[in-house]
Amino acid sequence: MNRTDASEPSAPLIALGDQDAAACADGVCHVPAEADEPQP
């Protein structure tokens, strides 16, 4: 599992998966599924 350096131009991505899955942005992490509250 290693990094390579390709960064070719790309078309808009097709979204897969649960769009409400837990993620972090701007220093705040959210858990939308059970409770829509900020998480560390």
Partner: protein
Amino acid sequence: MRIEIWSDVVCPWCYIGKRRLERALGQFEHAADVEVTWRSFQLNPDTPPGTAVPTLDYLARRFGPQAAAMTTRVAELAKAEGLDFDFGAALTVNTLDAHRLLHLAADAGVGDAAKERLLRAHFTEGADLSDHDTLTRLLTEAGVDEPRVLAVLASDEFAGAVRADFDEARMLGANGVPFFVIDRAYGVSGAQSAETFLHALRTAYAAEDTAEDAGAR
């Protein structure tokens, strides 16, 4: 098949998502054809370099008394993935140097080992991922040559690569991390379940297979 993953080493959902993806790959029929590429993303880029704030203090200032309950809940979810999170020991820091070293580690062929080592150091061991001595120890443990680690830390090497990763995430529409991109065609946002990751992998693989068949005709 290439999976690029934007994440930060102080992002709890990135570590949990990493484990879930690994579980999905363990069940994916074509896992041997998958190459994972780690990309840089800083959750707290404005954190002053050289400062380390206890994460619980940082969160308490930001969210008040509910911060403790938040961390407890995330730690429980992490535990379900076999991860031992210790938010009481964790330190909020600027992760730019850590990301620069992850690029070095990738070039050295140990990108995943280094990523895993830094995540464990932050979430389980309470390591300061902005401290150069600590970073040197962790990267060498992951298999990177110490002289190269010291040289990178003494320079701004790979800073441009870190910024390019961040810019690319925005260009691709990422509004949070972890953010997974498969073959520059499919985007998967957040710490999905292993089952969802597996479904996404199979969907992307089948589409690629179909496209190749069409191209061959």
